[in-house]
């Protein structure tokens, strides 16, 4: 018992130095002004950016829902395939993730540009060019594309443990496909769903590079505004920290709210 505790020490030290201390610094910066005096001005100044914050949350929610809708059947199909096909499909899913995230987003830019590949294809049939980039749809597409594997993988790892006989039993007892999903598959994969939602929602809500590249600066998200406070022209780390803090608190509460509902359903079961 003691030995195993000792093994956790490196991790605890790591977390202390690289997570707890920086978090403390964020709180400290958010609560002080440039002279180091305590103030709440930064939090109040944050209100100006509320519409961006809501837009970020909205985009992240939409992206999460789309990911869930796409990932649920995909994960189910993978989990029902035979062992060899399963690992092939998972590898295929992972391959894009081996390429740098920035490069993949650049690729989408090349595809979606007014002069890009997709519009050129439409051009052959005399259609378009359609405005595919620099709008909110492109930003959400970027989020879904980049974070979809984070939804599929936890769903798959839960679904692969659902015994086929449970599905068969439901079918034997006369359950149709809709009831099979709502009464059997959804409740049983709840842990995977909640992990997946967190894994997609959190990076989506704080992303800045996707909105910069695919949104063309016309759909700034809270991540862009925070980044601007640290390395952009509006250099103000105190305001930036306040934004990061508010965002963190909101995400934490939203996650805890969600988890409450999630575990409640388990109680009902």
């Amino acid at each position: 018992m003691k030995a195993s505790r000792a093994l956790a020490i490196p991790y605890v030290v790591w977390v202390l130095i690289f997570t707890v201390v920086p978090l403390g610094l964020v709180v400290w910066f958010a609560m002080t002004d440039t002279d180091g005096k305590l103030t709440l001005d930064n939090i109040f100044a944050m209100s100006e950016y509320m519409s961006v914050l809501f837009r970020s949350i909205l985009f992240a929610i939409v992206a999460t829902i789309i990911c869930l809708i796409l990932a649920f059947p995909a994960a189910y199909i993978i989990s029902r395939a035979n062992k060899i096909n399963q690992s092939t499909l998972i590898v295929l899913l992972m391959v894009p993730m081996w390429i740098n995230f920035l490069l993949r987003t650049y690729a989408w830019m090349t595809l979606l540009e007014p002069n890009g590949l997709i519009n050129k294809l439409f051009g052959i049939f005399g259609l378009g060019p359609y405005p595919l980039i620099n709008n909110s749809g492109a930003v959400i597409l970027g989020m879904v594309y980049n974070y979809l594997p984070f939804m599929i993988l936890p769903l798959y790892s839960v679904m692969v443990k659902i015994d086929q006989s449970v599905v068969e039993a439901a079918q034997d007892l006369g359950s149709n496909k809709v009831r099979l999903v709502t009464k059997i598959l959804l409740p049983l994969s709840m842990p995977g769903i909640s992990t997946g939602i967190i894994a997609v929602f959190v990076p989506s809500v704080s992303t800045f590079i996707i909105s910069r590249m695919l949104g063309g600066g016309t759909n700034d998200l809270i991540g862009d505004i925070i980044e601007m406070q640290f390395s952009g022209n509006s250099y103000n780390p105190h305001l930036g920290s306040a934004m990061a803090l508010v965002l963190m608190i909101i995400v934490m509460f939203m996650m805890s709210l969600f988890n409450q509902f999630g575990s409640e359903e388990e109680v009902i079961l």
Binding site: F44, S234, I250, F253
Partner: protein, 422 residues
């Protein structure tokens, strides 16, 4: 006695010999003559100053240089590797790092996270850093090549006494446009507000540059601190927002070269590069005037005191004609070094957009300097308002309170429910 004498002589000779040996080995360590080093890089020793670069040899010094990305001739077999020449000449190791914005550099210097001996910020950032005591006064005794700098770059607005900085590269903000997508020629900032090109116009994604364009268009000073004028600029930019395809910075390269946008503002040096890649592109200095920017070499106060002299030698080195030429040739921006300008081909020299006359610079352009904190903050606020829209001050506290209340409610509800269940 004789024996003793001969022994002494022998000893003396031996010492002499060994002395000789010492000096010989010292000479081995000693670098080759400057001419040979320069010739080995294919450079012309005639064009090089007789500055004593050899005095650092064998001291094993390292200097930390921070520069913009792609802003120094290096990393390509075809061209002169400037840092390599400096290392061969001085024996000093150059630890070269890059940054993406003036503000990144500023925050790195301020937080003390990185120690640099040489930095190359832009005009307004230099005046900000001077005001905040972040730059060290240079010893121009170690930088005799300051004499190579064109007179119009001495005592600039951002460093009025010219004690802190030596100009490195410069340029103006221009309009770059695609001749296939635009009818006729463009000569005015009004093109960026032309509704015929709605959806094909790109704009700078930072307040200082974006406001700079509106200020130039409206005929204001680019360093105005008048709130009314700033509001007028914001109104103008808001009007433009309807027809702008996107607010971008580096992405302008891809979008303009690929023909995805028709008109964009950008820096002349990069416009030269873009036009070379895509012959459909053309750039112009708008008739209303524009921003003249200068990036200059400085030594921060946080620099290691043992490195200062080496850093100053590096500054002097960057002002050597052939080195300055290599840099401006590679980067595409304009050089302030007279002899490097002489080395350029006639086409570049005659290009008014790259090398405008002194009269043009003084009458039609303005350098950004650091504006006062309230004016800067107001500009940021207007820019944010433009980009994200306004919202109520009580939004955040109320929203947070609502979230906390909801969480408490759910927790209490759950706890009660659990009690009932068990």
């Amino acid at each position: 006695m004789k024996k003793l004498l001969s022994l002494l002589i022998a000893a003396a000779m031996l010492m002499g010999l060994s002395g000789c040996g010492d000096s010989a080995s010292a000479e081995d360590e000693k670098r080759e003559p400057t001419e040979e080093i320069l010739e080995s890089f294919g450079m012309d020793p005639e064009l090089f100053s007789d500055y004593d670069y050899g005095r650092f040899y064998g001291k094993e010094l390292t200097i930390n240089v921070a520069n913009w990305g792609e802003y120094l001739s290096m990393n390509d077999d075809e061209i002169l590797d400037v840092n390599e020449v400096f290392e061969a000449l001085t024996g000093i190791t150059v630890n070269y790092k890059t940054y993406a914005s003036n503000e990144t550099l500023y925050s790195k210097l301020l937080s003390g996270g990185a120690t640099y001996d040489i930095v190359i910020p832009s005009d307004y950032m230099i005046s900000k850093m001077i005001n905040e005591g972040m730059l060290r006064k240079l010893d121009f005794g170690n930088i005799p090549n300051i004499a190579n700098i064109m007179p119009s770059f001495i005592n600039p607005q951002y460093d009025p006494t010219n004690e802190y900085s030596v100009p490195y590269l410069w340029g103006m903000v221009c309009i770059i446009y695609n001749t296939k997508m635009v009818d006729g020629e463009i000569d005015s900032w009004s093109a960026l507000w032309d509704e015929n090109y709605a959806g094909d116009i790109l704009m700078f994604n930072n307040p200082r540059d974006a406001f700079g364009i509106a200020q130039a268009y409206l005929g204001y000073s680019l360093n105005t601190e008048d709130f009314g004028e700033l509001e007028n600029c914001a109104d103008l930019l808001r009007e433009q927002k309807e027809i702008v395809q996107g607010y971008v910075m580096d992405e302008i390269f891809d979008k303009m070269e690929g023909g995805s946008a028709a008109i964009a503002p950008y820096y002349v040096g990069d416009a030269v590069t873009m036009c070379a890649d895509n012959p459909d592109l053309e750039f112009v200095i708008p008739k209303e005037g524009t921003n003249w920017f200068v990036d200059a070499i400085c030594v921060p106060t946080t620099a290691d005191s043992e490195h200062i002299e080496a850093a100053e030698a590096y500054i002097n080195f960057l002002c050597e004609p052939e080195i300055a030429f290599a840099n401006c040739d590679y980067v595409g921006y304009s050089t302030p070094v007279t002899q490097a300008y002489e080395l350029l081909d006639d086409e570049a020299k005659a290009d008014e957009r790259r090398y405008p006359s002194d009269e043009f610079l003084s009458e039609h352009t303005e350098v950004f300097i650091n504006i006062s904190e309230p004016a800067n903050a107001y500009m940021q606020e207007l820019w944010t308002g433009l980009k994200v829209g306004e919202s109520n001050v009580w939004f955040v506290p109320l929203f947070l309170a609502a979230l906390i209340a909801a969480t408490i409610f759910v927790n209490v509800y759950r706890a009660r429910k659990k009690k009932r269940d068990f």
